[in-house]
C-alpha cells in the first residue's frame, strides 16, 4: 500500500470493526493480547492510582494550610506524604506514558500489528495489578511512613509500618516495567514496517527506546535493593545498618542508581510526546531530528552517572560529590538540545493552539523552570542550603508534574480521537489546560521561595511567617485539582456524546493516523510501506490535505 491509498482507505465510508468492538465479554478483555486493549486497561488502572495519589496530595496541602499540625497527626502525615510519593512515582509516573500511550501507539507508529511479545505484554499488566494490589493492601492495613525513598536505617530498623509489604509490591511492580521495556526494544528492532528505517521513526518511538534501556538496566537494581532491605529487616544481616556492620549510604547509592534514571523513565516518554505535539501542531518538520533522537539516548546514558547528586549531604566523599556535581551539569546538555530544537521547530511554523498544543507549550515553560532549578541543586555548594527544603519539592514537581504529567495530558488529548474514535470538547479542553497551568504554577512556584527561606520538607507544622505562601500553594492545588478532574469528565462524556473523530482529525502524517479510528485489531488492513520521512507535511508523504478538507466539508454538510 502506498501512502496515498493508506490515507484513502483510512477514510473508507463503510464502517469497519475495531479493537473496541472485537469482543465485549470480560474474558475478551482480561485474556486479550491486543496491545491497544492492554493499553486501555493500563489507562483505567493508572488513573485509579493517580486519583488516590491525588487525594493524598490534597491531604498534604490541606494540612499545610495552617502552620499547626491540626488536620492529621504528625505520624499520619508521615504516612500521607510517603504514600503520595509511592503511588505517584511507582504506579503512576513510571508506567503512565510507556504503558498507556507507548503500548497503544508504538506498534501503530512503526507499522506493526502488535508488540513483538503480546503475552509478555499481558503478563506485565497482571504483574502491575499484583504489585499495585499488594501495595494498596499494605496501605489499607496501616501504610508505611519511611518516605518513598525507604532510607535506611530507619526503614530497616526503626519503622513499625508495613515496609515489607510495600517493598514487596514495588519489587513485583518492577518486573512489569522490565517486561514492558524489553517488549518495546524487541518490537522496535524486529517489527518495523517495510521502509520504516531507524531515522524515519517518530521521535516518540526513539524516546521509548531510550526509556526502555533505562527500564531494563536500572529497574533490577532497585528490585535487588528493596530485596536486600527486606532481608536485613527480616534476618538482621548487616547490609545497611551500621550497628551490625552495614552502611546506610550503600543503600542510597543503590537506590539512587535506579531512582535517578527513573526520573528519565518518567520524563523521556513525555519528551517523546512533546516532540510529536510541537512538530505536528506547528505543521513543520521537527528541527534537528537526529539531535533530538540521540539526545534521548544521551539522557538515558548520562542519567546513570549522576545519582550521587541526591547524596551531597549524606556523608559521601567530597571527591565523589565533585564528580557527581560535574556530571550533573553534563546531563543538562542533551535536555537543552531538545528545548532548543523544539523552540526552533516553532519558528515560522503554522502553529495551531489546539488543546494538546497548549499542554506542549506549557511543558516547555514548566520543564525549563524545573530543569534550570535542577542546576541549583546540582551545584555542590548551593545544595547544602537547599537540600530537604521545599525548593527540592518545587523543583521535582516542576519536572514531574510540569513535565511528565503535562506531557501525558497533552498526549492523551492528542491521541484520544485515535484511541476512542471520538472528539472531546475543545472548549473545555482549553479551559482545563489553562487551569492546570495556572493552578500548577500557583501551587509550586511559592514553594521555591518557601524552600529558599528554609522551610523543610516532610513536616506537618511550620513557622507562622511562612503561612501566606502556603495558602497560595494550597489555593493553587485546588485550581490544579479542578483542572485535572475536568478531563476525566469531558473525556468520559465524549465516549458517548462526542463527535466522531474521523481517522486523521489533525491532518498529521504519522502512521498511526493512516488507519481507522479506533484502529482495527490488526492495526492496518494492509501492511503499510513507508516511503516518506518523519514529520513530512508535503504531498510526498501522501497527505492529501485538499481531499481531506473536501471530506470534512462533506461530512459537516
Amino acid at each position: 500500500m502506498n501512502a496515498q491509498t493508506a490515507i484513502t482507505e483510512g477514510h473508507a465510508d463503510t464502517p469497519k470493526g475495531n479493537y473496541l468492538t472485537n469482543g465485549s465479554t470480560l474474558a475478551s478483555w482480561l485474556l486479550t493480547k491486543d496491545h491497544k486493549r492492554i493499553a486501555i486497561m493500563y489507562l483505567i488502572s493508572v488513573s485509579v492510582f493517580f486519583m488516590m495519589g491525588g487525594l493524598y496530595a490534597a491531604t498534604i496541602r490541606l494540612e499545610l494550610l495552617t502552620p499547626a499540625s491540626d488536620l492529621v497527626e504528625t505520624a499520619t502525615y508521615n504516612k500521607v506524604f510517603t504514600q503520595h510519593g509511592i503511588l505517584m512515582i511507582f504506579f503512576f509516573l513510571i508506567p503512565s506514558i510507556p504503558a498507556i500511550l507507548g503500548n497503544f501507539l508504538l506498534p501503530l507508529m512503526i507499522g506493526a500489528k502488535d508488540l513483538a511479545l503480546p503475552r509478555i505484554n499481558l503478563i506485565s499488566l497482571y504483574i502491575y495489578w499484583l504489585g499495585g494490589g499488594l501495595t494498596l493492601f499494605a496501605l489499607m492495613q496501616g501504610g508505611v511512613d519511611t518516605g518513598w525513598t525507604f532510607y535506611t536505617p530507619y526503614s530497616t530498623t526503626f519503622s513499625n509500618s508495613f515496609v515489607m509489604f510495600v517493598g514487596l509490591g514495588i519489587f513485583i511492580n518492577g518486573f512489569s516495567s522490565i517486561l514492558t521495556g524489553l517488549n518495546f526494544i524487541v518490537t522496535i528492532h524486529t517489527m518495523r514496517a517495510p521502509g520504516m528505517t531507524w531515522f524515519r521513526m517518530p521521535l516518540f518511538v526513539w524516546a521509548h527506546y531510550a526509556t526502555s534501556l533505562v527500564m531494563i538496566l536500572g529497574t533490577p537494581v532497585v528490585a535487588i535493593t528493596v530485596l536486600l532491605l527486606a532481608i536485613e529487616r527480616a534476618t538482621h544481616v548487616g547490609i545497611f545498618d551500621p550497628s551490625i556492620g552495614g552502611d546506610p549510604i550503600l543503600f542510597q547509592h543503590m537506590f539512587w542508581f535506579y531512582s535517578h534514571p527513573a526520573v528519565y523513565i518518567m520524563i523521556l516518554p513525555g519528551m517523546g510526546v512533546i516532540s510529536e505535539l510541537i512538530s505536528n501542531f506547528s505543521r513543520k518538520k521537527v528541527f534537528g531530528y537526529e539531535f533530538i533522537a540521540f539526545s534521548s539516548i544521551a539522557i538515558a546514558v548520562f542519567g546513570f552517572l549522576v545519582w550521587g547528586h541526591h547524596m551531597f549531604v549524606s556523608g559521601q566523599s567530597i571527591y565523589a560529590g565533585m564528580v557527581f556535581s560535574f556530571l550533573t551539569m553534563v546531563v543538562a546538555v542533551p535536555s537543552a538540545i531538545k528545548m532548543f530544537n523544539w523552540t526552533a521547530t516553532l519558528y515560522k511554523g503554522s502553529i495551531s493552539f489546539d488543546t494538546p498544543m497548549l499542554y506542549a507549550l506549557g511543558f516547555m515553560g514548566l520543564f525549563l523552570i524545573g530543569g534550570l532549578t535542577g542546576l541549583f541543586l546540582g551545584a555542590i555548594g548551593l545544595t547544602v542550603h537547599l537540600t530537604d527544603t521545599y525548593f527540592v519539592v518545587a523543583h521535582f514537581h516542576y519536572v514531574m508534574v510540569g513535565g511528565q504529567v503535562i506531557a501525558y495530558l497533552g498526549g492523551i488529548h492528542y491521541w484520544w480521537p485515535k484511541m476512542t474514535g471520538r472528539m472531546y470538547s475543545e472548549f473545555w479542553g482549553k479551559i482545563s489546560a489553562m487551569l492546570v497551568f495556572v493552578g500548577f504554577n500557583l501551587t509550586f512556584f511559592p514553594q521555591f521561595i518557601l524552600g529558599y527561606q528554609g522551610m523543610p520538607r516532610r513536616y506537618a507544622a511550620y513557622p507562622e511567617e511562612l503561612q501566606v505562601l502556603n495558602i497560595f500553594s494550597t489555593a493553587g492545588a485546588s485550581v490544579l485539582g479542578i483542572g485535572l478532574i475536568m478531563p476525566a469528565i469531558y473525556l468520559t462524556h465524549s465516549l458517548i456524546f462526542g463527535k466522531k473523530a474521523g481517522d486523521n482529525p489533525w491532518m498529521h502524517p504519522g502512521l498511526e493516523w493512516r488507519t481507522s479510528s479506533p484502529p482495527p485489531t490488526e492495526n492496518f488492513d494492509v501492511m503499510p510501506v513507508v516511503t516518506w520521512e518523519a514529520y513530512e507535511f508535503g504531498e510526498e508523504s501522501g497527505l492529501d490535505l485538499e481531499g481531506a478538507k473536501r471530506r470534512d466539508a462533506a461530512s459537516i454538510a
Partner: protein, 107 residues
C-alpha cells in the same frame, strides 16, 4: 555462532556440570580469601579479590549458562552493555568509598 533453537546442542551435560563445578570452586575460594588478611598488601585488597572471583563466576554464567557465547552480535552487545552498566555502579560507588576520608567542606 548460530541463532536457532538448538542451543541445547552447544554443550553436553558433563560440560554444564564442569561449569557448575567452576562456580562452586569460585564460591569456596571467595570464602577462604575472606579469611586471609590481604589488606596488609594494600587497602581494599580483600574486596578486590572477592570482586575478581565474582566477576569471573558471572562471566562463566553469562557465556555458558545464558548461551551468550553462541549468540548473535546484538546479544553480545546487550550482554557487554549490561556488564558495563554494572561496572558503572561499582566504579562510582567505589569512588565514594575509596575517597571518603579525604577532604572535608571545612578543609
Amino acid at each position: 555462532m548460530s541463532d536457532n533453537n538448538s542451543e541445547h546442542l552447544h554443550m553436553n551435560i558433563p560440560k554444564y556440570i564442569g561449569i557448575f563445578m567452576i562456580l562452586v570452586v569460585g564460591t569456596i575460594a571467595t570464602y577462604f580469601a575472606a579469611t586471609v588478611d590481604m589488606d596488609r598488601f594494600f587497602p581494599g585488597a580483600n574486596t578486590l579479590v572477592a570482586l575478581l572471583i565474582a566477576f569471573t563466576k558471572m562471566t562463566f554464567v553469562m557465556l555458558f549458562f545464558m548461551h551468550v557465547y553462541w549468540s548473535k552480535r546484538l546479544i553480545w552487545l546487550a550482554a557487554v552493555g549490561s556488564f558495563f552498566w554494572l561496572a558503572i555502579m561499582f566504579a562510582y560507588t567505589m569512588q565514594d568509598y575509596l575517597t571518603r576520608g579525604s577532604g572535608t567542606f571545612s578543609g
